[in-house]
């Protein structure tokens, strides 16, 4: 390291310069985010910058430089989003409380009603590619505006422009005029009030104090920072609301509101059943096929192998959609065949039991090849002489399998089975592309279906209906988080044991 340190001293300047430039760019980004009202994201960039400067600027942390990108990526792209989602579970973030408090005040105070009693005629004058608005009654002329997007232009006293557009040309500009706001030298706002006139805009709400707005009809609205709404004296909430911390309110809803608790419990149980059944079926089918493929007398093994793993090789979003079509009630091929053979046309998507059966069957189809490939690997490590000895003792091949082979492959298989369980526990893609959670559970106040698992339930709460209940979705994410944490830890322990076993008994 001494030679390295000596060399790095002579080469330090270019490196420090590069670090400084990158740090400045990051700081600029952090500042921009802070200025744009995103202090949290700005702070994260700031933290990242600090870490970067310390680790890449100082020679003491030479070794950490290699680890920095990976750790930073994990912290920024996994740890932070997961924690932030759970944090959202403690807020009322939803489509009715989408904004921040300053933005909500801005939106309310920006609302205005055109006061028809102040109407005055206008004319438009061309100024190069842009236009000026001329208000003859008050003798005011606006700054030039393009009239292509929403904008504000200041008015100032002036003489009448020479060439005014005629009526028809002005009418052709009405879309642009409708989006224009003019500001008089006194600060009053004037908007387009019809084809022929502009008029004063009276704001609907005026901020009359901290946390207080007064409506144009004299009603006083007070900010309710517990609920995230402005309220009139009668307690009526005025949208839009803003995001506030609501503590455990979302969890209370999950555990006490009948319309939410019922479906949540059902979905919770079904998620475990679904993941467990999927792993069990995939493992059994995969292992059975692996055992057959390992049989020494079987020919054409490579052909069978490639054909058998095809379901795994085809992108799952395609095969799931294919099944969605094949299971279609009216023109799906599966029902056509069942109809021709047995005269049956099952309602795969509307009957709860059938829909759940379909989900598990499709998931087994998707998942058995992975288990088969793994099982083929582990079966090879079972010593042949153990089996031979058992056969010589007169054991049947079924008995040999259950007493010799299976106990030997289960321990190394266990971490992978746990991982498969965790994967299926969150197998959003399958549910979402195949059934979207349908059929719906009747009598719920939130979108919830019989085939929904927790992950798809969360997804639908947040993204799939008009409510966009991010807060509730975040709260349910905490439930999933706890389950996944337990599974993850179990996997960790199982992996440790498998590693210890392997180390203690080298193959």
């Amino acid at each position: 390291m001494t030679t390295g340190a000596g060399r790095s001293r002579s080469r330090a300047w270019p490196r420090l310069l590069a670090v400084a430039i990158v740090a400045l760019i990051l700081l600029w980004g952090a500042f921009t985010l802070y200025a744009a009202g995103q202090p949290l994201l700005g702070a994260i960039i700031l933290g990242l910058t600090t870490g970067f400067v310390v680790i890449f600027g100082s020679d003491r942390f030479y070794g950490s430089r290699f680890i920095f990108p990976g750790i930073a990526a994990v912290l920024v792209f996994i740890a932070f989003p997961v924690i932030y989602t759970i944090y959202i579970g403690f807020t009322n973030y939803s489509s009715s409380n989408l904004l921040t408090y300053p933005r909500a005040v801005e939106v309310l105070t920006a609302r205005g009603t055109v006061d028809q009693s102040t109407e005055q005629p206008f004319a438009v004058a061309r100024d190069g590619d842009e236009y000026r608005i001329w208000l003859p009654e008050s003798g005011l002329l606006s700054d030039p505006v393009p009239l292509t997007e929403e904008g504000t232009a200041a008015l100032s006293p002036a003489d009448a422009p020479e060439a005014l557009l005629d009526r028809r040309e002005a009418v052709a500009l009405r879309e642009g005029l409708a989006r224009l706001t003019l500001e008089t030298p006194e600060g009053q706002l004037i908007r387009n009030a019809g084809l022929r006139s502009f008029a004063l805009v009276v704001p609907d709400y005026v901020q009359t104090g901290p946390d207080q707005l007064t409506r144009s009809d004299g009603t006083v609205l007070t900010a309710d920072h517990r609920a995230g709404f402005f309220r009139t004296e009668d307690g009526v909430a005025v949208p839009p609301g803003w995001r506030v911390n609501v503590g455990l309110a979302n969890f209370e809803r999950i555990f006490t509101s009948q319309g939410i608790r019922g479906p949540t419990v059902e979905i919770f149980v079904w998620t475990f059943v679904f993941a467990g059944l999927s792993v069990l079926l995939c493992f059994s089918v995969g292992l059975l096929l692996a055992v057959i493929l390992q049989w020494q007398h079987l020919r054409y093994k490579p052909v069978y192998r490639v054909l058998l793993i095809l379901p795994y090789a085809v992108p799952s979003f395609i095969s799931i959609l294919v099944f969605r079509g094949l299971f279609n009630q009216n023109f799906g091929e599966i029902n056509l065949i069942l109809d021709a053979l047995f005269g049956l046309r099952p309602n795969w998507f509307t009957d709860a039991t059938l829909a759940r059966t379909m989900v598990v069957v499709v998931n087994t189809w998707l998942g058995y090849p992975y288990m088969m490939l793994l099982a083929m690997g582990f079966l090879q490590s079972v010593p042949e002489d153990h089996k031979k000895a058992a056969v010589l003792e007169g054991a049947s091949s079924v008995r040999v399998f259950f007493t010799i082979t299976l106990p030997q492959i289960i321990p190394p298989f266990l971490p992978l089975l746990i991982a498969a369980f965790a994967f299926n526990f969150n197998n959003l893609v399958l549910i979402f592309l195949l059934t979207r959670g349908l059929p719906d559970i009747p009598g719920t106040v939130i979108p919830a279906g019989r085939t929904d698992i927790l992950a798809s339930f969360t997804y639908r709460l947040a993204f799939d209906n008009a409510g966009q209940q991010f807060g509730l979705a975040g709260a349910i994410t905490l439930l999933i988080f706890v389950v996944v944490a337990v599974i993850s830890y179990a996997n960790f322990v199982a992996m440790r044991r498998a590693a210890a076993r392997r180390a203690g008994r080298p193959l």
């Binding site: 290699f66 069978y304 095809l310 294919v322 969150n426 993204f463 830890y489």
Partner: protein, 296 residues
């Protein structure tokens, strides 16, 4: 197993092949069906496995061309499948390269460089990689919605945002490459150190060239993972022209606009290349997963 009578053996062989063939027929049925449907007329056509009046209509549409039917009607492609494919490939290649760079450097440091708390970091990494990004969807949406207000480059509907979030996929791959680096003889590092190489030079000139095969495998795996991603892309990407294949494909089977025939052709067109890449890479995939799980 050791001594078997030829007659029993023959019966067993017939049973084994018979079982495998029946099983394969069931398993491969969806593929044959889709192939048949892609050549059928119309979007609701039913019929035998070999279509009576085969037509290339769905295929022409899948390639993005207008199709003129026999009666003179001109049909336009319902969705830009090739554009979606291009979006998918672009995003997945860039994200795959990013993941590869981060994972290789991290794997090298976890395997070779002495850092305090490395064991704890490795354990944490193992625990964290079990947490799927689906857990963070709400935050991902909220963050990029907010960032979009600052700059559209990082907003919703932006491929940059998608690529950034895909970088979170590094954890699993760090393990795969670390397992490979752990199996490299330490004498190589020592030789490099004696020649005066810094750890970075050892990485750049000794480990990187050795790691090319495993890096190729990790890249393909990451690439396939990103191509297949549905949840993140569906949350971030809403506009049709920016969609990836996984998000767009779902539009075909909408309840109100059910394009079964067009879907079949588009599915084969887009699924085939990915399937072939996967079949080539799969033996490494399983080996990597098995190793990663057992080595620790």
């Amino acid at each position: 197993m050791i001594v078997e009578r030829p007659r029993d053996l023959l019966i067993k062989k017939i049973l084994a092949h018979g079982f495998l063939l029946v099983f394969l027929a069931l398993i491969l049925f969806p593929f044959l069906m889709v192939l048949s449907i892609s050549f059928r007329q119309g979007n609701f056509a039913v019929g035998s496995l070999i279509p009576e009046n085969p037509t290339l209509e769905h295929w022409v549409l899948a390639f993005g061309f207008d199709y003129t039917r026999a009666n003179g009607d001109v049909v336009s492609p319902p969705y830009p499948v090739l554009l979606w494919m291009w979006n998918s490939i672009k995003v997945s290649v860039i994200a795959g390269l990013g993941v590869l760079a981060i994972a290789t450097i991290s794997a090298y440091s976890f395997s070779r460089i002495r850092i305090r708390g490395k064991g704890a970091m490795l354990d944490a990494l193992f625990l964290i990689q079990m947490f799927p990004t689906t857990l963070a969807l709400v935050a991902i949406f909220a963050i990029f919605d907010a960032l979009g207000g600052v700059t559209p480059i990082l907003g919703l509907n932006s491929h940059v945002a998608l690529i950034l979030i895909y970088l979170s996929g590094v954890t699993l791959h760090i393990w795969t490459i670390k397992g490979y680096f752990d199996s490299i003889d330490r004498a190589l590092d020592n030789a490099a150190a004696i020649d005066g190489a810094t750890p970075w030079q050892t990485f750049r000139h000794v480990f990187l060239p050795l790691a090319v095969p495993i890096m190729a495998v990790v890249f393909v795996l990451a690439f396939i993972g990103f191509i297949n991603d549905y949840p993140i892309a569906s949350v971030l990407i809403r506009s049709e022209s920016q969609m990836t294949l996984a998000v767009g494909a779902r539009l075909y089977l909408n309840e109100f606009r059910y394009l079964w025939g067009n879907f079949a052709a588009a599915a084969i067109l887009s699924g085939l290349p990915i399937t072939i890449v996967f079949l080539i890479a799969q033996r490494y995939l399983v080996r990597g997963l098995g190793d990663g799980a057992v080595k620790g």
